[in-house]
Amino acid sequence: MRTAVVDRPIDVAALVAEVTAAHNGALSLFIGTVRDVNDGRAVEAIEYNAYAPMAEREMGEIASEAAAQFGTTQIVIEHRTGYVALGQASVAIAVAHARRAPAMDASRWIIEQLKVRVPIWKREHYVDGTREWTGQTS
């Protein structure tokens, strides 16, 4: 298990390699990416701001809870901070498991928990030059 708040692009292939192990039969990766439109407004980039030590503690706790609940320790979670361009990953969750259903259930549970518990905020920068702290999206 590893969780991190990072200020550089997330290396998806490295995350996949990190959770790969010969006793696993399934790997589920979820990536949240920056969309070009939110609530009908044209977005240029999103700036993520974290309360880093608490965010890392909370992400670690989510990973530990997922490990206990779904039965795997092959879990890596990374969340970006700073400016993230359109199409780039803001968060990535990789879970490997012996079987596919718990691998997929775990990655879903983790992103849902992350979105309600981890102290990270985003400010959308719009094409029209304005910017705004925005709430959670689905």
């Binding site: 701001n49 309360y51 030590p53 803001s90 992350l114 309600v116 905020w121 709430g135 959670q136």
Partner: protein, 80 residues
């Protein structure tokens, strides 16, 4: 005691600073710290019952606060 309270995102913008110093009684609880922050200039623009973290964990309003605690007001999170 004096406490530095961390602010983030929209709360930091509302107050105009990433942290504020407040003075609270020595037996203060989380709710008292919130009251003290909201009594500051522009503090009333914050919600009445924001989420609060003490030492990187979410804390209930009745939790006692020590001078060495790291206290932060947590706006609605939006990660992911």
């Amino acid at each position: 005691m004096n406490l530095d309270v961390l602010l983030f995102a929209s709360y930091a913008d509302a107050i105009g600073a990433p942290a504020v110093r407040v003075s609270v009684p020595d037996d203060a609880r989380v709710a008292d710290v919130v009251l003290a922050v909201r009594a500051l200039s522009a503090g009333a623009t914050l919600p009445e019952r924001p989420l609060v973290a003490v030492n990187h964990r979410y804390a209930k309003p009745d939790q006692l606060v020590k001078p060495t605690d790291e206290v932060a007001l947590i706006p609605p999170v939006a990660g992911g």
